[in-house]
């Protein structure tokens, strides 16, 4: 494998994360990154404490102790849902008579405005592989797959080279670190569907089936890929594992800021019309305002912040007044939405909320897998109403209808979390900017005219 990056070409993920000051004690995810974004290959990675966490896990700890440490550290899933990784690992079926299963890395990063996993994989693939080895050890997995978003060509190159290096060095394969533990990793590039980020849809897709979410139970930990116990973790989650094993729980607990209920650091970002859009590894508990103003440099001159989204298109819109919310799941929860991926987006006052939501809902409607009715047929309806409002062809009742749809496509009513995520920004946008939506109503009502009773049938 000779996937070297051409000298003249910087990786797309080169950016702010490479440029801020970083230290091993405070930036476990990014301290190894090179300022020029050149990938950290095996030699350099090993020189920078690489694979020490994995070595400790495999040679000094039992799988149960590894899972317990990660659980105690409080490492939460970084893909957006925030489910504690250690708890998930504790639920994986293992033991007498249960076959060893799979460790899947969810690298199908397709959330609009989210670009954190790409950086980690492009520039520092060994950190992910190390995390996967530790996770596989804790979960008795015998094969790992990186389910990678197909468009992440550079990440695929990096990961493939890293896998080859690791195999060559005996870090993958049989009897890793002389521990008797066998494990190998394959990189699987997806065909590009948002729903593959849903863990059971990801498993279906990996197996070569339609990427529809699966019924739960059985949970993947019981019966996942090819019917075997399966753990699915996000890239960033897995990247956080080895430092916990190496430096301990206490150190990890010291990383976040006062007030945060979640531990560790998190890749956070701000995009939109800010002065310095980008991505930084920051302690959980930092306020959104600090991220926006200190790291992203505030709004560009002439632009005023109108609204912002804390962590991906599937999270709700917030107002400037919410910027003092702390970036951790409970902190954003207090202002009414979810932290999601923590890669925030600033909406400036030149942007029409109707157009923005039309664009977003087009994305979500297109990415519906088509399995359940509310999502498959409800989301396209929101798109069509939003297009009408955008074109000034809305009808009285359209906004109410949108709100009705946000209610009926909510949690518990659909098969998976796709539609609830899709309508969360819509509901909050109407909540805060209803007049923009109502401004799209021009024509007199036809369809929504008061109904006359018809004969009973």
């Amino acid at each position: 494998m000779s996937a070297t990056t051409p000298v003249n070409r910087r990786l797309t993920s080169f950016g702010t994360a490479n440029l801020i000051e970083r230290a091993p004690e405070t930036h476990p995810l990014t301290w190894r990154l090179n300022a020029d974004a050149s990938p950290v290959w095996l030699e350099e990675y090993r020189a920078k404490q690489g694979y020490l966490g994995a070595k400790r896990a495999l040679t000094e700890l039992t799988p149960e102790e590894v899972a317990a440490e990660v659980k105690e550290a409080g490492l939460k899933g970084r893909g957006g849902a925030g489910f504690p990784a250690g708890v998930k690992w504790g639920l994986t079926a293992k033991g007498e008579g249960i076959p060893r299963g799979y460790l899947l890395c969810n690298a199908d990063e397709m959330e609009p405005n989210t670009y954190k996993d790409r950086l980690l994989m492009e520039q520092q693939p060994h950190l992910l592989l190390e995390g996967m080895i530790v996770a596989a050890y804790a979960n008795h997995s015998y094969r790992g797959y990186v389910f990678l978003r197909g468009e992440y060509v550079d990440a695929a190159k990096s990961l493939r080279r890293a896998v080859a290096e690791a195999r060559e060095a005996g870090l993958l394969g049989r009897d890793i670190f002389g521990s008797g533990f066998d494990f190998d990793i394959y990189v699987h590039t997806g065909a590009g569907r948002y729903i593959c980020g849903e863990e059971t849809a990801l498993i279906n897709s990996l197996e070569g089936r339609r990427a529809n979410p699966r019924a739960k139970p059985p949970f993947p930990g019981q019966s996942g890929a090819w019917g075997k116990p399966t753990v699915v973790n996000n890239v960033e989650t897995l990247c956080g594992v080895s430092s916990i094993i190496l430096n301990g729980v206490e150190w990890y607990h010291g990383l976040c800021l006062p007030g945060s209920e979640d531990h560790g650091t998190k890749m956070m970002g701000f995009s939109g019309k800010v002065k310095n859009p980008g991505l930084w590894e920051l302690p959980l508990g930092i306020t959104a305002r600090e991220v926006l103003e200190e790291y992203a440099g505030g709004m560009r001159d002439g632009c005023t912040l109108k609204a912002w989204q804390p962590g991906g298109a599937g999270t709700g819109f917030l107002l400037p007044e919410h910027l003092d919310a702390q970036m951790y799941s409970g902190g954003i929860g207090k202002v009414g939405t979810r932290m999601g991926t923590a890669l925030s987006m600033a909406v400036d006052d030149s942007v029409s909320m109707v157009s923005l939501l039309r664009n977003m809902e087009e994305f979500f409607a297109r990415e519906s897998c088509g399995w359940c009715t509310p999502c498959r047929d409800g989301l396209p309806w929101t798109v069509k109403i939003l297009r009408a409002l955008e074109a000034g062809e809305g009808e009285p009742g359209d906004v109410e209808l949108l709100l009705e749809l946000t209610r009926k496509l909510g949690p518990g009513k659909t098969y998976c979390a796709h539609a609830p995520g899709a309508i969360e920004p819509l509901g909050s946008a109407i909540k805060y900017f209803r007049e923009e939506f109502e401004a799209g109503i021009r024509t007199p009502s036809t369809a929504n005219a008061p109904q006359e009773p018809v004969g009973s049938v």
Partner: protein, 916 residues
């Protein structure tokens, strides 16, 4: 059992059900689409939402999909909750956003689950004002029409077609609101069960093309509870008629037999009923004026026939396994027991007698079709079930898939949670072992297959029996591969809880049946609680075996020897059973040939007198299926109502009338029940047939059962071309059914005989819910039919059938000749369905199948035509290369029109190749 509280009332329900199933079983209306009693729950459509409360004090509750919710004892549920009602209406509204408003021109209209559910939820206003997505439709063959624009994406079609029936050429494509259900390209749907799509689809995406060709709304059809005559499975059907034509056949629910599904032969093979070439008038062929048929009045026909028969020294009666017991019995009464032949070839009759013996005296009980599904291992000896008894093949497939259920049970995943069950199972199946002459369409579920000649299949069965029980006869000189396979299968079978053996008539091998009997006994000796199913060839073969009578060979010989000079042939084409030369000799030798049939068969064309017989659509009668289940089929319509000159009558009526005319006495039998009773009284093993259905005097609330839905329209006009005066509706003296919509058609009173599935608010086949004790269970009045063969254990201590020791010898391979083995085709091998045009489109041309090794050794091209000499027959047949046919054998399709019948089991010489 569990108690649940729904909208303030307490109900006892089956705790293993899901909530939707439980509600429907209670008779409560909860709308649904993606759920189906046979296909389980997948939670896709979200239509069946109800409110579930944490406990008695919870007032908010939360919406749950009832199909995905297990029953919890003492749980509180609301169907009427305002939020649930509103959500269910919204689901319909979303589905309707892309559904065309084409009900008036849609063939599903009036038969449509989507219509029913739309009305049920109260969605009657359209708020969606934008464009609808559109799809292109596909050509799917002569059976199924495709209109994808109507699709509501419930995924039932692919779940039935792929997951349930094992089809591979129908799939789901695309995503979001552009999901497409179809094939990769236009083309004939390959599954033998494709017709079920028309009932599984909740709307008009997949409709019956044969119905479309002469379409009538469901409510304007006249139905009767009927039994499929296409094979010996005894599937219950619901044929619909209008203007004196059968227009479609739908499944009729019988919880013990076919439950929701039919095969395509049974569904689409009805065209022979409507064919214009059917004899519908009594005909006399004047010997002096050849080829001139003289039509006769009924009385004249009876007089002329009686006159000729009275003149005869001895009259032979040849019955038929495709005619009812009543008609066969009436013939036997007319000619006398000593002169009655079953019309079945001697070898087959001997095998049928052996089947009877094995089933009555053997070691294992006979499973019903439904019961086959609950076996955990299956051994098939010889039968290519998909082609010979297709519905049985579908049941065997379910038995294989039952393997998933035990895994699910371990994980406490309920059976109805099908996707979860499938995720767990990952394709793991119960073992199915197939021993056949060539490849079959069950090979995909087979754990192991064995291919050989009929004798080798028998040897395989004998060897398996010996492997299970040392005292069973051994098979000498088996090759190592077969021995290994037998050992492996035996060890798996030993751990089965309920293994099933299936064998049958199709290979025409008594040795295969003996092997099956030995295997059954070996199961029994090994302590396995198994079952045995023996498949007979035709709709009433088993019935004829019970009725008894001489073979067809005997009849022909008697005629050829001129020991008799007249013969009455009942619904039987003798040329399909014995060599044409022998039939010709016999018929040439007799003075009078009287044929009673509904098809212009070659036998019929030779008749001196032809009397037009009723098909299943114009008459009633009783059939006995392979299971030994006697079932009554009922007349669908009276042909004389539309065609006053039509002389079609049940054959038993003609025969009895003829009998009394000959004897110059008044008739004894005026109605079917009298014939059935007489037959039951004179043949002890058939004593139970009177209970196969209620008698003609059966009434519900003083009414007969209506054959048409109450909305039936156009009655006063449908005969206006004949007379503007509407006559009185025909009166059915033979059954408890009334022609037209007059009579009872409700669900409140439990009944077995249901001409059509309908209940208020339920116009689609989903209305069967309302007739069942629990959804997907049995009919509330009991499943129709009566099993005539006592089960081992219940019949007292008889002599148990001993092991058969006649093990056939090993196959001898020759370099210059090949043994001819029969191959079967669902479309083509059965006589009457092969006369239906849509079936004809699916029939293969005659061919010669040769194993790939032999074909290569002979240097034959795949596109070659081969000249085959078998006895005195020389055939030029296109070659079909088989990957499984054993070396030294050739396969030739059996039962196709105009193919010689005596070639099977004989030796063929492949003389030359003609380049195509």
């Amino acid at each position: 059992m569990a108690t649940i509280h729904i909208d303030g009332k307490d109900y006892e329900v089956d705790g293993s059900d899901n909530l939707l199933q439980a509600c429907l079983s209670l008779g409560l209306d909860v709308p649904y689409f993606c759920w189906h009693p046979a296909l389980g729950s997948v939670g896709a459509c979200r239509q069946c939402a109800v409110k579930q409360y944490r406990d008695k004090d919870d007032t908010r509750g939360m919406l749950v999909m009832s199909c995905m919710t297990g029953i919890k004892d003492d749980s509180y549920i609301s169907i009427d909750d305002a939020e649930a009602v509103e959500f269910r209406e919204s689901v319909i509204e979303w589905l309707m956003s892309n559904h065309p408003h084409d009900c008036p021109v849609c063939e599903e209209g009036g038969h449509c689950h989507l219509q029913d559910m739309t009305v049920m939820t109260g969605h009657d206003r359209r708020r969606y004002r934008f464009t609808k997505r559109t799809h292109e439709n596909q050509y799917l063959g002569p059976f199924i029409a495709h209109e994808m624009n109507r699709c509501i994406s419930c995924y039932r079609c692919v779940r039935f077609y792929k997951d349930y029936a094992g089809g591979t050429d129908l799939g789901v494509f695309g995503a979001h609101d552009n999901v497409y259900f179809g094939r990769t390209t236009d083309g004939v749907l390959e599954s033998e069960f494709s017709g079920n799509l028309t009932e599984v689809c909740p709307t008009g995406v997949f409709t019956d093309q044969t119905h479309s060709d002469h379409y009538t709304r469901k409510w304007d059809l006249q139905f009767a509870p009927s039994i499929c005559h296409g094979c010996s499975s005894g599937c219950n059907i619901s044929p619909g008629e209008r203007y004196g034509e059968v227009r479609r056949i739908e499944n009729r629910y019988n919880g013990a037999v076919n439950h929701y599904f039919l095969c395509d032969r049974g569904r689409f093979g009805y065209g022979y009923v409507n064919n214009a070439d059917r004899p519908r008038l009594a005909l006399l062929r004047d010997a002096d004026a050849e080829d001139v048929d003289i039509t006769l009045s009924v009385d004249a026909a009876l007089d002329r026939a009686a006159e000729r028969l009275k003149r005869a020294r001895r009259v032979i009666g040849i019955g038929s396994p495709r005619a009812s017991l009543e008609s066969n019995y009436a013939l036997r009464e007319l000619v006398g027991v000593d002169n009655f032949s079953t019309g079945i070839e001697a070898g087959e009759l001997e095998r049928l007698a052996l089947m009877q013996r094995i089933l009555r005296e053997g070691a294992l009980p006979i499973p019903s079709l439904r019961d086959i599904e609950s076996h955990d291992a299956v051994v098939v000896l010889g039968e290519d079930l998909t082609q010979t008894a297709a519905r049985v093949a579908l049941s065997v497939r379910q038995a294989a898939q039952g393997g998933a259920l035990s895994l699910a049970a371990e994980q406490r995943i309920p059976e109805w949670h099908v996707n979860a069950v499938n995720t767990l199972a990952q394709g793991r199946k119960n073992p199915v072992y197939l021993a056949t002459v060539a490849e079959t369409k069950l090979d995909d579920i087979a754990r192991e297959t064995f291919h050989g000649t009929p004798d080798e299949i028998a040897r395989f069965g004998f060897a398996l029996a010996h492997a299970l029980d040392d005292s069973a006869p051994m098979v000498g000189d088996l090759d190592d591969a077969t021995l290994g396979l037998v050992g492996e299968i035996a060890s798996t079978l030993k751990s089965a809880k309920r293994p099933l053996i299936i064998a049958g008539e199709s290979l025409r091998s008594i040795a295969v049946l003996r092997a099956a009997a030995n295997l059954a006994r070996a199961f029994n000796q090994a302590g396995l609680q198994g079952s045995l199913s023996l498949i007979s060839a035709e709709a009433n073969s088993t019935g004829l075996a019970m009725l008894g009578g001489e073979s067809l060979d005997w009849a022909l010989k008697t005629l050829t020897r001129q020991d008799a000079d007249a013969v009455i042939v009942l619904e039987n084409d003798l040329y399909r059973r014995l060599p044409a030369k022998r039939v010709d000799e016999a018929l040439d030798a007799c003075e009078t040939l009287l044929v009673i049939d509904h098809q212009p068969t070659p036998t019929c064309r030779r008749a001196d007198i032809v009397l037009p017989a009723a098909t299943f659509a114009e008459g009633d009668g009783t059939l006995v299926s392979s299971e030994g289940r006697a079932q009554r089929f009922f007349q669908v319509y009276d042909p004389a109502y539309y065609r006053p000159d039509d002389q079609t009558h049940e054959a038993w009526r003609w025969l009895h009338a003829l009998h009394t005319t000959i004897e110059s006495r008044p008739i004894d039998w005026t109605q079917l029940d009298e014939v059935t009773r007489a037959c039951a009284e004179s043949v002890p093993v058939l004593a139970g047939i009177t209970d196969a259905a209620p008698s003609a005097s059966f009434r519900i609330k003083g009414q007969k059962i209506a054959r048409s839905p109450h909305r039936s329209s156009g009655r006063t006009a449908m005969r206006a071309n004949i007379s503007v005066v509407e006559p009185r509706q025909p009166q059915d003296i033979d059954s408890a059914l009334a022609f037209s919509m007059e009579g009872y058609s409700g669900t409140a009173v439990a009944r077995q005989q249901v001409p059509f599935a309908w209940a208020p608010g339920w116009n689609s086949p989903q209305a069967w819910n309302k007739f069942q004790d629990e959804v997907g269970g049995s009919l509330r009045a009991g499943d129709p039919g009566v099993r005539l063969i006592d089960q081992p254990g219940t019949r007292g201590e008889g002599r148990p059938l001993a092991y058969f020791s006649e093990v056939p010898s090993a196959f001898q391979l020759y370099h210059d000749r090949w043994q001819v083995v029969p191959l079967y085709h669902l479309f083509g091998s059965e006589e009457t369905s092969a006369k239906a045009k849509p079936v004809q489109e699916r029939m293969p041309e005659p061919y010669l199948a040769l194993g790939i090794t032999d074909a290569e050794a002979l240097g034959l091209n795949p596109d070659a035509k081969v000249r085959v000499n078998i006895g005195k027959h020389e055939l030029l047949l296109p070659l079909k290369i088989s990957s499984r046919l054993r070396r030294g054998t050739v396969g030739i399709p059996r039962g196709l029109p105009d193919m010689p019948v005596e070639i099977f089991g004989e030796w063929a010489r492949l003389e030359q190749e003609v380049r195509a």
